[in-house]
Amino acid sequence: MKTLHTLMIVGALALSGTAHATPATDALLAKYKAEGVTKIDAAKGKADWTKSGKSEDGEAISCSSCHGTDFSKAGKHRKTHKVIEPMSPRANPERFTDEKKIEKWFKRNCNDAWGRECTAQEKADFLTFLLAQ
């Protein structure tokens, strides 16, 4: 009986843990919905991750230029060489736990990579895609 209980708890934890949502991401996704997002598309987030906008010194910049495409591994800033902790909340539990921080980096990094801010739709897609990594 005790084993069964433990199994149930472990199972429930595993299920709730798959998407790795945090209070911060719940709040942000709700905000994006309030801003008009109706359908979130994680596949679009995945495609956008490697989409480059701005070109700098002949190099096209995308999210993956600094964060890479293996989300379990740390990235490296292409210019300052600063190590960037993994994007996967599984590999990096601190990731996506601070609402202000997420918005700050969306603003900066969309501007750096694409030369403009991201829309609520793009942010919702990115966030949902990344939370599943």
Partner: protein, 187 residues
Amino acid sequence: MKKTTTLLAALAFTLLGSSLAQAEEEGLFESIFGRHKEITPVSNKTYQDECGSCHFAYPPGLLPSKSWEKLLTAQALPDHFGENAELDADTLKEIREYALANAADKSDRKRSRKIALATENIDAPLRITEVRYIKRKHHEIPEKMIKGNKDVKSLSYCDACHTQAKKGVFDADTVRIPNYPDWDDED
């Protein structure tokens, strides 16, 4: 009487022990004479976190206040050497005030004084690597050890070689150049 003496001896020993431990951590010489050499390390958490999330958080004592005045503004930060480094108004106010209060010309540390002197009568440098004193200090290091060194690449990465940079220590004894363990012996 004997008891009191023993107690006093024990107390003296404890006091001596703790100050020795402290001295050992800083280096005995450093703890006595070194306070005013080098650069004041970063002590503001917001400054450390915000600046340090993208690059080595350069201690404000590496540039004069007129430089920080130009660098840390809402107009300048969206194009911070080509990167978007925008900050919200409260955060910017805090790190700007911290940098201005601890700039080279406000510091009594030896290296900061030299930086203040080297930048006194010229336009505010925006890069630490433009400061004449810093340039001169690195002048004799061959290009292959910095620019041509895949683990260094530029003078901007202070902590690539200055192992104690975080503590504000930049003397030659604490330098380890990656891939050039005997850099000091080479001509």
